[in-house]
Amino acid sequence: MTSPGRPIDLSCAEALARLDDYLDREVDHRAIETIEQHLGCCGPCAEEYRYEESVVRSIRRKLAEVEIPDDLRRRVLDKLRRIDPA
């Protein structure tokens, strides 16, 4: 899918295929520039990117809500000292 006015060196399909790596900054500097140039002038791809980025952030936020047991640190260190004293 291409549209007039978009960079000719990256189609929407190519941009979307690289979105996951771009989101994780697992692409090189040149690729970042190319993708950002595409997202800067392609509304549908930019919208899809913003949604995907929000999904990843939301999942991380939900997983971080898991309750850490009270005194986890103390109990772990206490067990280390009892079982394997330095």
């Binding site: 996951d20 999904v55 999942i59 939900k62 997983l63 809500e65 898991v66």
Partner: protein, 201 residues
């Protein structure tokens, strides 16, 4: 005279490194094992193994990745076999950005600052954990590390002892499977679908 309630292991270098990763390690253990009790036991086991093997840790390298390697190996050897999965997500590839397309088709409103907020306001952390439980093991491990830890693909590859290309493909596919599972769960619990406020506007 006040006393420090936190016991010392006698190895302050190890202790400070361990304490700095303990909460995040517990979160990873929680989503790997699926129970609070197993998660705490797994973290304690890994901490003991790490203390015993600390002389092999190379200074100025990534302690978080080193400790998670120990934790993951302990999980494989002692915990994974305990788990029983009742339901798993279909491994048919649901395609890229499944939730974006489903949410758009459903007419969900989009928050400009947090595009997926409408959906995730309806999915609490237990539902998200349930989606992780539906992933096949090889995807759940990678996704658990990816979503609970601030690690690069290379660090995750080191923890799991698999090629970085495999990590990349599992993260990409795991994210797609996870999104499919999240949508299925949202439907199963009636959180989205006919009559859900905000749809088909």
């Amino acid at each position: 005279m006040a006393t420090d309630p936190t016991p010392s292991t006698g190895n302050p270098d190890f202790e400070s490194l361990l304490v700095s990763v303990l909460d995040d390690a517990y979160r990873t253990a929680h989503y790997l094992t699926g129970t609070r009790e197993d998660a705490e036991e797994l973290v304690q086991d890994a901490a003991l193994l790490a203390q015993r093997g600390f002389s092999r840790f190379e200074a100025n390298t990534n302690f978080r990745a080193w400790f998670l390697t120990i934790l993951r190996n302990r999980f494989i050897s002692n915990y994974r076999r305990r788990q029983r999965r009742i339901e798993t997500v279909s491994i048919d590839d649901p395609g890229e950005h499944y939730l974006y397309h489903k949410s758009r088709d459903a007419g969900f409103p989009t928050d400009p600052e947090d595009a997926a907020r409408y959906l995730f306001d309806r999915l609490d952390s237990d539902r998200v954990a349930e989606a992780f439980d539906r992933l096949p093991d090889e995807y759940r491990e990678v996704c658990t590390l990816y979503f609970t830890q601030d690690l690069s693909y290379q660090d995750i590859a080191n923890v799991l002892d698999i090629p970085v290309g495999t990590v990349r493909s599992r993260i990409h596919r795991g994210r797609r499977l996870l999104q499919h599972a999240l949508w299925d769960i949202a439907e199963d619990y009636g959180l989205v679908g006919a009559g859900t406020d905000g749809e088909k506007r």
